[in-house]
């Protein structure tokens, strides 16, 4: 049964939160001891995690640049978390100063933080919603307004869908979003993959079971299937550093160690 949305979601500061843990990996201080404790454990198990997160952040930056350079001026960042640095609107506006961004996150603390940060920015808004209740998300006034103009919109699902379990059918959720997008829109997606570091996957997923957002790593094939209805741009779904690197040498010798895969698809 769907919970009526006027029943509030609690703020549980006693549990680690993915957005704040991510911030810690990236060297930020927008986090609490409970988040850091979890992050330290994760890093102890998997010392490359901060690098992986930076790699993910770098993909986000390159993908937003790519979209903006293609003329996309509207962005829907789902699972935006805490925009420690390099927030979407900053990246996009370097290319398209009029760019508009709607940030969406389900964590009330991340949303409150984003609102404080973006109070003065008329081109940005923040919505508290959950991608798993995608009809609710897509019906929010900020979102419908973003889509209403019929201009292409870049939807960002960066390091988000691995927090959606199979039972919740992430492919279906994306399809619902896709069907609401005007032609020329883009899907920007990165996702933890099982193939990069199979040795780490199980431990890592176990660790995330402590959080309100358990982690589900998926195969390359499963992740590629999320682009159904989109045309993948070159180079397709690849390891994070391999996606349109600034310079060939920044890919590094072992891009698979970054474990995440990413891609950008365009809606015909």
């Amino acid at each position: 049964m769907r919970r009526p949305n006027w029943v509030p979601e609690g703020t549980d500061l006693d549990k680690p939160n993915a957005a704040r843990v991510y911030d810690y990996y990236l060297g930020g201080s927008h986090n609490f001891e409970v988040d850091r404790e979890m992050a330290r454990k994760a890093i102890a198990l998997w010392p490359e995690l901060p690098q992986i997160m930076r790699s993910n952040r770098a993909f986000l930056r390159r993908a937003v640049q790519f979209a903006a350079e293609r003329g996309i001026g509207r962005f829907l960042d789902i699972g935006s978390g805490i925009p420690t640095f390099g927030a979407v609107h900053e990246i996009a506006r370097a290319i398209r100063p009029e760019a508009r961004v709607v940030y969406v996150d389900r964590d009330p603390v991340a949303v409150a933080h984003s609102r404080l940060l973006l109070e003065e920015d008329p081109g940005s808004s923040v919505v508290q919603a959950d991608v798993r209740d995608v009809e609710d998300l897509m019906s929010r006034p900020e979102v419908t307004e973003l889509l209403a103009a019929g201009e292409p919109v870049a939807v960002l699902l960066v390091a988000v869908m691995h927090f959606v379990q199979d039972a919740e059918d992430p492919w279906k959720l994306i399809a619902v979003i896709r069907d609401a997008l005007p032609p020329g829109s883009a899907l920007v997606l990165s996702h933890a993959s099982l193939e990069g570091r199979p040795d780490q996957a199980e431990d890592h997923q176990r660790l995330y079971r402590m959080t309100p957002t358990p982690l589900t790593m998926r195969t390359h094939e499963q992740i590629t299937a999320m682009f159904e209805g989109f045309e993948l741009v070159e180079p397709g779904v690849v390891y994070l550093p391999q996606w349109r690197p600034d310079q060939p040498e920044t890919v590094g010798e072992h891009p698979e160690r970054m474990t995440g895969v990413a891609g950008v698809g365009l809606r015909p």
Binding site: W6, V7, P8, E9, G10, T11, L13, R20, L26, G27, G28, S29, H30, N31, F32, Q51, R54, S55, R57, A58, R61, Q65, I82, T84, F85, G86, I91, A94, P108, V109, A110, V111, A112, H113, R115, L116, L117, P241, D246, T250
Partner: protein, 705 residues
């Protein structure tokens, strides 16, 4: 003052190293353009800090701060930056001071940034918490409003059954204040009319075996009134899935229930007296038979008022109705406290049902109670009406009968009570019942049977013992009863006499038989037998009989001399009996008479002398008794012989009935008995069989064979 102390090649190398340092790790996440500008600006600042005069350590600190602002917060970056700076040659030995200032600037900026971010995230958490609290309060307010102003009653209880909260609607439903209800226990809300299973469902719910149940359930209000509710109870579990609360929602369905009850009452109660009606009685009775305990007994008292018709006819229906109401009230008052059901079956018929009888005595006691209750006169208007009743009592084990059979038996027992005289009860007797069943079946069906052509006539031959000639045939009416098969006259003639149907039936028999006899005479002449027809007492007393018979003889063309009517001894009871006139009238038509079944009635020989009869038929029991081992055969023969002598002395022809053997026939012939009938000579047969005998036995048959 800004003269460069070092060759530009050193500065260029530093710039390259610096750019390489910043473009790794975190730098990959930064836009290359931005990164390039950051590299140039910070390298410039450091360059100036190393070489400018006077030495401004602040420039190095600024460079450190800029890195932190660009999110280069990894201490590894600081270590490698200091390393790079130390390799640079600075003016006047200020190298360590430049590094120190850079590191201090980086650290100070990081500290500021950390504090700022901590502050920001705490503020955000605070905002979020407040927002959540506000939302929770709003949600609570909504729920409270929902709870308080809901039209249906809502109560919350713990899993121990303590009531914790009740809303206004529930208070109104119970006509109680919150203090009357909170702290009470759910288990106290039991009601005798609770549906089966409701409390089992409740136990299952609070123990977590089920999450939900629904029932229609009555409750006592604070004022003692009953309120009917549609009850839904749901279980609330805690985070670990353990039962925590129960929430009951109660919708007042009293009106609906009352309407249903009224409709049901109307369907199951007699509108005049308010007693359960026939349908309700049968429903209750049939329920007893659904799943009875072995040995379970029940009782029925069928009650019929004596003389109700008189009251109704003479004082009017209104008075009759009032009388019925008064009777109903008395029966109810007397028998309901004993735990018995009183119902009105219709008209002036009532029934008392003992659903759990302890034995015959209890049913008899109930019947006596009925009679006692109706013993005193009923005052209606100015009339003091004495009502009595007759009661048929049946008390049986449930397993030995069926509802239908029991009701029929009780009804027939009542009929016997009526017959036996008013104001009494009679207990069911299986033998009497069997008899009554046939009479009942007979009397109900007979009026229509004649019209439907269900009657027919068989003929039993009478032979002359002297020459074995077929002397006569006795017409015997038969009834082909649709349910009971072919019935003989002994099984329905008494009823026909009681109901008066004997008149048309008797007329019909005469018409048929006379027509048949005339037909035989036409076909066989003198060889055709005489026709004997039985005359019922009531027929003999009817003044119309002589006229009817005259018409029939005319119509059929039968010679009256070929017809003999058989009467019984009880047809004439005294010298002044009006039946005598009829009998003389019949004889006047040229018809002869015979006394049938002689020896079984009063056998007043004196009257026999005065009757215009020409024949006598000795009852079959005399011949039958000859073979009773308990009785002396020779004495029997002497009686038969005496009867024959006496009849001959009076000039009567004698017929022996019930002759079953050739030996008896021979002895009767020797005694001088004129005619004989019985199985030895032939059972009653169809007319065609008689015709065959007439044709095949022109010289008669041997008597003794």
């Amino acid at each position: 003052m800004t003269e460069a102390p070092e060759p530009s090649s050193g500065a260029e190398r530093f710039h390259e190293d610096w750019a390489r340092l910043l473009s790794g790790d975190h730098g990959t996440a930064v836009h290359p353009g931005l990164l390039g500008r950051l590299v140039s600006r910070t390298a410039g600042l450091l360059h100036r800090a190393q070489l400018d005069h006077p030495f401004e350590p602040q420039l190095a600190a600024e460079a450190g701060a800029e890195l932190v602002d660009a999110h280069f917060t990894d201490p590894v970056v600081l270590a490698r930056a200091v390393e790079l700076l130390q390799r640079q040659r600075a003016a006047d030995g200020r190298g360590p001071a430049v590094s120190g200032a850079f590191a201090a600037g980086w650290a100070a900026a990081l500290r500021e940034r950390t504090l700022r971010e901590q502050e920001a995230i705490r503020t955000a958490a605070d905002v979020a918490r407040k927002e959540a609290e506000r939302a929770l309060r709003a949600s609570e307010a909504r729920f409270r409003a929902l709870f308080e102003s809901a039209a249906i009653g809502i109560g919350i209880g713990d899993t121990n059954g303590n009531i914790l909260a009740v809303n206004k609607a529930l208070q109104e439903l119970f006509g109680a204040g919150p203090d009357d209800m909170i702290g009470r226990r759910v288990g106290d809300l039991v009601h005798p009319e609770d549906a089966d299973g409701v409390w089992e469902a409740y136990e299952d719910l609070i123990s977590g075996k089920r999450d939900y149940f629904q029932f229609d359930k009555p409750y006592y209000r604070q004022d003692g009134e009953i309120v009917w509710t549609h009850l839904t109870v749901s279980l609330i579990r805690d985070d670990d899935g353990l039962p925590q609360y129960q929430v009951a929602m109660l919708e007042d369905v009293t009106d609906r229930y009352r309407l249903q009850e009224r409709l049901r009452h109307q369907a199951t109660h007699d509108p005049l007296t308010g007693l359960p009606n026939r349908a309700a009685f049968f429903e209750r009775l049939e329920k007893l038979f659904e799943d009875p305990d072995p040995g379970a007994r029940f009782g029925l008292c069928y009650v019929d008022l004596d003389g109700f018709k008189v009251v109704n006819d003479s004082l009017g229906h209104d008075t009759g109705d009032e009388l019925l109401c008064a009777v109903a009230a008395r029966l109810k008052a007397a028998l309901t406290p004993l735990g018995h059901l009183v119902a009105r079956l219709g008209g002036d018929e009532f029934v008392v049902l003992l659903e759990k009888s302890r034995g015959e005595q209890e049913a008899v006691a109930a019947a006596k109670t009925v009679l006692k209750a109706l013993a005193g006169p009923v005052l209606i208007g100015d009339h003091k009406l004495a009502v009595g009743a007759s009661v048929g009592v049946l008390e049986r084990r449930v397993s030995t009968t069926t509802p239908g059979a029991a009701v029929r038996a009780a009804d027939l027992t009542l009929y016997r009570a009526k017959e036996a005289g008013r104001g009494r009860w009679i207990l069911f007797d299986p033998k009497e019942n069997a008899r009554a069943v046939s009479r009942y079946a007979v009397s109900v069906r007979m009026p229509a049977a004649l019209d439907r052509g269900e009657f027919f006539i068989d003929y039993q031959p009478l032979y002359a013992l002297a020459d074995g000639r077929l002397a006569a045939v006795e017409a015997l009416v038969r009834w082909r009863h649709p349910q009971m098969g072919v019935l003989g006259p002994d099984e329905f003639v008494t009823t026909a006499e009681e109901t008066g149907l004997i008149m048309p039936l008797g007329r019909w028999v005469l018409e048929q038989a006379c027509g048949q006899a005339a037909d035989w005479i036409k076909r066989f002449g003198d060889a055709a037998p005489q026709l004997n027809v039985n005359l019922a007492v009531r027929q003999a007393r009817s003044a119309a009989l002589v006229g009817d018979l005259g018409r029939i003889l005319d119509t059929t063309g039968l010679d009256p001399a070929r017809l003999q009517l058989e009467i019984t001894e009880s047809t004439v009871v005294g010298p002044e009996d009006e039946a005598l006139r009829t009998l003389h009238g019949l004889v006047g038509l040229g018809v002869s008479l015979a006394v049938d079944d002689f020896g079984t009635g009063w056998s007043n020989l004196a009257y026999l002398r005065d009757l215009p009869v020409s024949g006598l038929k000795i009852a079959g029991s005399f011949v039958g008794d000859l073979h009773d081992p308990a009785k002396d055969e020779e004495t029997g023969w002497r009686i038969v012989s005496g009867l024959v002598s006496m009849a001959h002395a009076l000039g009567l022809t004698v017929t022996a009935e019930g002759v079953e053997t050739g030996r008896d026939a021979e002895r009767l012939r020797v005694i001088g008995c004129d005619w004989a009938q019985g199985w030895h000579f032939g059972r009653p047969v169809r007319p065609s069989e008689i015709a065959r005998r007439i044709a095949e036995e022109p010289r008669g048959r041997p008597v003794a064979d």
